[in-house]
């Protein structure tokens, strides 16, 4: 199998990205469509705009390259690289989550979900609402009722 084969990915806003096939198949969605032969060339990636697609490709490239390297020292470097990769604003982070979900890239989905989980962990509901700009549409009585249902969690 020619690993240096390249494929072209077309973002939702019409920009094309040429990548190695080994990088593109980090996405199970793309891998499946290539294997089924149903992928055109370029392969359209709806729902993912060029800014996000560029980042996703950057992630996949880095991970494919590190998998090849034998150095175990790079493992720690990769973790640090990942941590930097997700230091983005919320909008980009959630776009990355959606893209990883649609493209079915498990490691990226896990990384981004873990990041959001870290933003949620240990916070009070008020803090969470503030972080994510969630509007509280409960009346005080309703909110009290919800808290009572699972009192142990709110103690």
């Amino acid at each position: 199998m020619a690993t240096s084969r390249k494929v072209t990915l077309l973002s939702s806003d019409g920009e094309s990205f040429e990548v190695e096939q080994s990088v593109a198949v980090e996405s199970i969605t793309i891998k499946d469509s290539i294997e089924e032969g149903s992928a055109g060339n370029p392969i359209p990636v709806p729902k993912v705009n060029s800014k996000i697609l560029a980042k996703v490709i950057e992630y996949c490239k880095k991970h494919v390259e590190s998998a090849k390297a034998e150095d175990r020292v790079d493992d720690e470097d990769l973790v640090a690289w990942d941590a930097d990769f997700v230091k983005v604003d919320q909008a980009t982070l959630f776009d990355l989550i959606r893209a990883a979900n649609f493209l079915n890239i498990k490691s990226l989905l896990d990384l981004t979900c873990q990041t959001v989980a870290d933003m949620i962990k240990g916070k009070t509901p008020e803090e969470k609402r503030k972080t994510f700009t969630i509007r509280n549409d409960f009346t005080p009585e309703e909110e009290e009722e919800v808290r009572r249902e699972n009192q142990w969690a709110f103690e």
Binding site: V73, F94, K128, T133, I134, W152
Partner: protein, 496 residues
Amino acid sequence: MAETSIHRKSSGDRPNRTDKTNPPLPPPLSPRDLISALPDAVIHRIFSFLPLQDVVKTSVLSKRWRPTWTTATDLVFDEEIVARRGSTLDFSSLVDSVLIQCISPTVKRFHVIRFKYEKAHRPKFDLWLRFAEGRRVEDLSLLLVPTTEPPTLYILPRFLYCWSWLVRLKVWTCCFSLGRTIRWPCLKILVIAISRLSDDILEGIFRGCPVLESLKLWGCWGVKNIMIDSTCVKELVLFGLRDSNIQTIWAPHLLSLRISGDWQPHAMLRLGDVSSLVEAKLDFSIRVLTDLPCDEMMCSHMLKETFQKLCGVTTITIGAWCFQKLSLLEMEGVPAPLSICQSLTLHVDIIQWDLLGIAYMLRISQCLEKLVICLTGLPLSMYSLDEESKESFNYDEEDFLCSRKGNFQCLAKHLKRVEITIDNFGLERLLALIKFLLGDALALEKMIIKANLNMGHGQEHVRATILSKLLVVSQNMLSYRRASRNAEVIFSHSFK
């Protein structure tokens, strides 16, 4: 109230992509509220990284969030949820109340962790497992903590033995019943700890789990012989405790074997056919209760035999206790078959005679490409030598190594990478060895020295002293003659 519902109805006309399981999402209440707009499946994935109380707390964020946690696909009940709160809520009631509210048709992960099990809990657990069965749990963990001595074991209910979708199973302090047919056609990972087993039960497990890949037995008793015929089982981990008494292991298709923990001297663990083994980790110890020399001899003998069986293994890790025994073998001049080991990790103490052991390993591992040495830093006082032997270990390290120059074939051709991990004070002890390796390894590409420096509380002032000492030593080291032109020496340190 009426206003908001009208508001919803009109915006319900907006085309919303819906899948069959989720009702159409109401529009997010704030345009910057991106998280609420995520599909439930993704939110559940985020939940899988959070402890249960954070998941449940999301119910109060807004109306959209109220029911979301009840369809969560991961239920992890850790006893510390209750332990941390001073409340009188007990663990069982908590689990009950959560299970009643959980309405998801599938729960992928169901874990009960650190539950102090008593006999009276049995019906409760049977009920919870019925729940898990109904939700087609794939990943089940019952990590129960024994409360009595000898431990009261939870007898696994009959219906558990034929969960056809189970992929991962971890049980502690449980008991398998004889005579039940086990049918887990999807099971890949099985961990059994602090349980009573038998050769028959184990055979039944292997028969009923055709795709089993990994088996870990921690502190189990009752098993004497492990015979693994299946070509799927790749990994076996045995951790000895209490009366663990395994005598033989026969697994011709096994790829990875690890033996750790404390074993009884009469265990006489013997390896049968393990010809496919690629990776082996021996970090166990045998507690010799008597001073009788025959007990010591039995241990050495067993270790020597075990080690001989591992000559075809390419990646080997040896723990401190095993390594010391092997060093003894070197001292006694026991001839050893050559090993094709390519990657070797050794856990050593800072005792003088470990150099002998290292020399022994270098001698027999003629294809060695990677050597990793971890200094444990704790003198193993369990191991004591008589005065006579101590004398023979009184040697000068540099002399010893110099006399071995050019003796090790791996150094001449193969050794590419050396990693040494030390703690606060270990570096000086290894200087002679580092000098020797640098001077003799012709193919060396990288030597990495990692110092994990342990600072106790209130010892920050000591930091500076240790660091400066390390710097001096490392500078000396960098000036040693290198046999390989490409050799890179990397020195890193971190404080804990």
